[in-house]
Symmetry: C2
Subunit: 622 residues, 2 copies
Amino acid sequence: MSLLDFLIGRPLASSEERAEQIGTAKGIPIFGLDALSSAAYGPEAALTLLIPLGLAGVTYILPISAAIIILLLIVFLSYRQTIAAYPGGGGSYTVARENLGTFPGLLAASALLIDYVLTAAVGISAGIGALTSAVPSLHSKTLLLCLAALAIITIVNLRGVSETGGVFLVPTYLFLATMFTAIGWGVLKTMLSGGAPQAVIAPPSAPHAVEAFSAWLMLKAFSSGCTALTGVEAVSNGVRAFREPTAKTAQRTLGIIIGCLVIMLGGIAFLTHSYKIAATDPNGSNYQSVLSMLFAAISGRGVFYYVAIFSVLLVLIFSANTAFADFPRVCRVIAEDRFLPISFANRGRRLVYSEGVLVLAFLTAALLIAFGGVTDRLIPLYAVGAFLAFTLSQAGMVAHWKRQGGQRVRTNMFLNGLGALATGITVLVVILAKFMEGAWITVVTIPAILLLMYRVRSHYDKTLEQVASPGPLDIEKTPNLRVVLPMQRWSALAKAALCSAFAISDDIHAIYVSGAGEEHDDFREQWEQDVVAPARAANRPVPKLVCIESPYRFVVAPIVDYVLELAKQHPDCRIVAIVPEIVERRWYNYFLHSQRATLLKTNLLMKGTNHISVLNVPWYIE
Amino acid sequence: MSLLDFLIGRPLASSEERAEQIGTAKGIPIFGLDALSSAAYGPEAALTLLIPLGLAGVTYILPISAAIIILLLIVFLSYRQTIAAYPGGGGSYTVARENLGTFPGLLAASALLIDYVLTAAVGISAGIGALTSAVPSLHSKTLLLCLAALAIITIVNLRGVSETGGVFLVPTYLFLATMFTAIGWGVLKTMLSGGAPQAVIAPPSAPHAVEAFSAWLMLKAFSSGCTALTGVEAVSNGVRAFREPTAKTAQRTLGIIIGCLVIMLGGIAFLTHSYKIAATDPNGSNYQSVLSMLFAAISGRGVFYYVAIFSVLLVLIFSANTAFADFPRVCRVIAEDRFLPISFANRGRRLVYSEGVLVLAFLTAALLIAFGGVTDRLIPLYAVGAFLAFTLSQAGMVAHWKRQGGQRVRTNMFLNGLGALATGITVLVVILAKFMEGAWITVVTIPAILLLMYRVRSHYDKTLEQVASPGPLDIEKTPNLRVVLPMQRWSALAKAALCSAFAISDDIHAIYVSGAGEEHDDFREQWEQDVVAPARAANRPVPKLVCIESPYRFVVAPIVDYVLELAKQHPDCRIVAIVPEIVERRWYNYFLHSQRATLLKTNLLMKGTNHISVLNVPWYIE
């Protein structure tokens, strides 16, 4: 237990909830890392698709970024309203389920869960990828580094919300500071130079154009750039983690996150255009990230460059944290509706939904291992989930306002409707543009998860039906007990077990299993003398001794068979199978005793019926 | 279960013992493979040490082989007598323990057990080594092939004695046939050519001498060659596996094994001398085994050569089988004396001591994995164990005859005394000659195993003392039962558990665990209505409802604490903790229910006392 204390910290009492609640300063690292870090890959993803257009591509990044920023603002306004309407936590699942029905809710939930697993895997692998391109000697350790980063994030999250915010505070604000400095500096230079700044280190010249402008290419670039929007819904899922007034604090946090993201996306688009930075082929030997070229063009490769690149790297790795903050919360809400195992709703020792954290860590590790730590191929998969959830959530909000009515109902409905429309169109665009590259996997996986959730729920319903409302206790019907007691020799343990048997019933069957043709006169004699005689003397019913021959040397099976047979013959009785057991206080003595008691208990439990219970009588060896 | 049937076969009834007993034909593969296969490495091991003497070394192989053969014959005569004297199985352990005392017995046993583990690992690795030198493309798969061979041998042995003999019959007799053919053919050629036969393919010429003759070198060569004697004691351990008349059949089997081995050792020595075959450096690039050079010299590299080499390879791999035949038997005898866990004495479904087979397989696999499948470095370790066991066993026989008296007591004592003396000197020689190369490891490991065995025994003695002879049942002292029943809601399961509680006691404590500050009025109300009211109406004592607040959300710990506290307060009572449990018939539903019942049972068993028993009341979900 002390190792657990060391790793995860002492248990927190339920009453310490308040101390675990967070303000804006910690909320940004916890719920905003995913959104903010997308500044590091969103524009790059769009620019990469524009490579075939040559230098002209750099021009098109401006309208594409503008479209993405507009979409981002629509989604922001929409989620701002959701937070106000659902101060108890308004994830896509809750909003869609309450307003559109169970199916849309679960659809949103499963899309979102897939998206979070992908976010965690891609975030870690992108960050470690950036690290290994900076320090090539680490390249062979990629998977190990990924898993180490995953382990750190998992442990930090298990330590509780407040601690998580503290740990990720420094990298987040370092990243924001360097990004803002670079953008401000670059914009200043551009203005001073009249729109054509001189790069300190010139980016590689853009390749020759091999394709002409086409709407399809623009759509693909736009849908790639849309990965920048994933992570926006995180805050609305986690409203309850915020300090009072929760909704206001959450809204402010979301506002700051989106504000920062808009500045970064806009700034990067503006500067890549004015410095004429085209993306380089990610699979080519001269690959350099857009941010790296941008920093070098603005500041040269000095201290600032390396600090900035390092902070980008940290933020990419820790962007996985947003998934860890939200995945367990989403699972918990679904589990409370019994569509996932109820254990997801249990709060662990640090008031965190530990099972969700661990399941996410497990799934992420599986993905990382399956792909050897390089998850580039997963990038096309994500965004689909996020945008599907966005759409359902916004559509749900429209229904919410319609039902709710109120003063500003039209404005509200318009804002959320606009969000639903914009994100709905984006889903279609993303699926179309990326279907063959992997989006089809998401499209196939979602129904599988949905099916699983429905089966979980139907199992719980069936269980509940069988167990619930049993009516009052019928005291008259207290059943007769018959006791079955296996006994191989007359020992202190056997005696204790037999005493217990006498205490609960007068109908005792002692079972002795012998090998084929084995003599058991010794045991019979001892039985007569030490059991039968005292029972007669005390005028109590004599226990029945049943000897069973076991030709195949099995000991457990004949006892189980006897118990089952007895239960069948006396359906009105309750059978108590006594299992005497020698218990070792020290684990290393475990191997010295036969594990028959454990085997017998397991077998009785597996094959038994509602009328058979097992009384485990232990005897401790000191 | 059907997979187990397929792999290991249907269970054999104890009465089928006779059909599992074997004659000479199957006895040779089962108990003789280790001894016979030593013809393939014993002479080579001696010749390798003679390399520094150049061509002169080939001459010295004659007296060294003669010494080894004489030792072998002495050990044979000695063990022949042991078999006659111990028809129930006369391993070194039994003989030494009965005649010299417990300590020498256990010393012999632990030496022998180490030796068997090494035999298994070295046999498999030597055979696979021969295979990979023949087919170099398999080299990278060495460990995998070793483990596959180990798996095959393990499964065959788990299938029973008779089957094992059948499987290894063909390779054994193929090996004997090719060896005898080669030796007969070579001897004939030598005679016809007047002692200087012409090799079909000449062996590489012997290296130049770099050392002169020394007694130390002879001793080292002799002790290396002595590895040829390991495996001789196998038959005497397994006498009981033979058909009636067991002792005679066993003696005949041993005689044939030793006869074959003597012919092979003598023949190889004679022919390496007449063909002037010196060993080649095993680490050199031109390495070729002595047998390979010999076969090539006699027959050229035709079909015969390849068949012969292939049979050597099979016999080397399967020589591990002798260890699998004997290790479980030795463990079983020791376990019956309670110096090893008693489970070693249980016969599995195929009448084999399965646990010994599995433990040997596990230890061998661990060695193979630790050494990557190349266990050359282990060769110096083995022989020590075997010869130590030989010595103790022969010395025990001397004491046996002395006590027993009888007609031929002097001859018998002389034969076994000679055996003890010869093998005793050999142990010293082997330890001296190979101490630094690894024999010290055996010398250190034996005391560790001895210590373990004594601790196992003392634990059993202590247990027995606490459990045995409890005296007759005191029926008057049947204890009062107090029942503790955890209850979180009023369900069919809770009702069944409460019915059981009423059936066994009038003193019932129902425990309700609530979170800090949680309301539980609903439950109280239902309790009053569905439990208290019917109990009052039936004029039965009302169960006590205990509500416990759990600030850290733990549920199991407060219940366990309550039970322990109650047991402390009422030392004269027996506490029955009822654990209601929802049981799933399908394993994949396992995750859908909290595992609190399992946790509670485990915790109660771990922390409990002799006065606390656990009544598991299951409720099956159909």
